[in-house]
């Protein structure tokens, strides 16, 4: 369970950061909802990257 919680926290964390940045971007620029959509997808990609790194599927940062 610890491993599952860890990986899911990383994935959800990425999505939350993407959503937050997207909403903030939209608020500043007034491009709602496009910033939210784009940043959410990038956040998801970032979350997947973190999960794959910590799961050992791809090698960690320093290669």
């Amino acid at each position: 369970m610890a491993r599952g919680l860890r990986l899911s926290a990383e994935l959800v964390g990425g999505v939350i950061v993407g959503a937050g940045l997207g909403l903030g971007f939209d608020y500043l620029v007034g491009s709602s909802p496009w910033g939210f959509i784009v940043f959410l997808l990038f956040g998801f990609a970032g979350g997947v990257l973190t999960v794959m790194r910590s799961a050992g599927v791809i090698p960690p940062r320093n290669v």
Partner: protein
């Protein structure tokens, strides 16, 4: 007594300390347990090492063991250069460990780390330490962290953006992991213990049935003690990994 599994995380004001900007600041049970843990750590480390015997006693070897444990952890993840962060990592590890274990105390225990505000504050402390030290130590080379080597130039902007997202999501996953583990564990424990009481209300048949959740509660208590240590270890080792990025960015 149908116990509310969330009730144990209630913050109680013990006595007021004053007001800041109209907001009342009070000494809470959370602050009490943080204080107990700090006093406990200080007592353990100072009194245990006061004897300085060549052949350590029980308390002294406990203190030396925790030193060795954290020092090995830092050296294996961040190299010997990481040892300048030893006081920081050691403090975080011992603090989280004591809070987690104090939360396992029966009857009086309060799990401070089950509140995300506490774990988020610790994670953000690590996050900003990494950024500030990374910029001060490496200057602009710190930003090589976001530029992996060997990437074709036409997809580089995309990769850099995803790397930045991944970096920004660190404090969230760092704090949520500790908080979620402690919260989920304590709720599970409470629910199974509640089953014992509920079944016990049904008379003799219920008492026999209550053996099952009672056994689960005993097993879960052992598991939670393991999780208490493991999550403190995971929190500290992630701190080391993030600090490593500040010391050696890029590569």
């Amino acid at each position: 007594m149908a116990a509310d599994p969330i009730h144990q995380f209630q913050i109680n004001n013990l006595f007021p300390l004053g007001t800041v900007g109209g907001q009342e600041i009070a000494f809470t049970n959370s602050a009490l347990f943080m204080g107990i843990s700090v006093v406990g750590i200080v007592l353990l480390m100072i009194t245990a090492t006061a004897g300085r015997s060549l052949v350590p006693g029980r308390a002294q070897s406990l203190a030396e063991l925790s030193y060795e444990f954290v020092a090995d952890m830092i050296k294996s993840t961040a190299g010997t250069e990481g040892m300048r962060f030893f006081p920081f990592v050691f403090t975080i590890f011992m603090f989280v460990l004591f809070l987690n274990v104090l939360g396992m105390l029966p009857l009086a225990g309060f799990a401070v780390t089950s509140h995300i505000i506490v774990t988020a504050a610790l994670a953000l402390l690590v996050f900003f330490t990494v950024i500030i030290y990374g910029l001060a130590h490496n200057g602009l080379r710190f930003f090589k962290l976001f530029v992996p080597s060997g990437i074709p130039i036409y997809i580089l902007p995309l990769i850099v953006f995803i790397e930045i997202m991944s970096f920004l999501s660190r404090p969230i996953s760092h704090s949520v992991r500790l908080f979620a583990n402690v919260l989920a564990g304590h709720i599970t424990l409470k629910v199974f213990a509640g089953f014992v009481v509920m079944l016990g209300a049904f008379g003799v048949g219920g008492w026999l049935g209550a053996i099952l959740p009672l056994g689960m509660t005993v097993a879960l208590t052992a598991l939670e003690l393991l999780v208490a240590f493991l999550q403190a270890y995971v929190f500290a080792i992630l701190t080391c990994i993030y600090l490593n990025d500040a010391i050696h960015p890029g590569h």
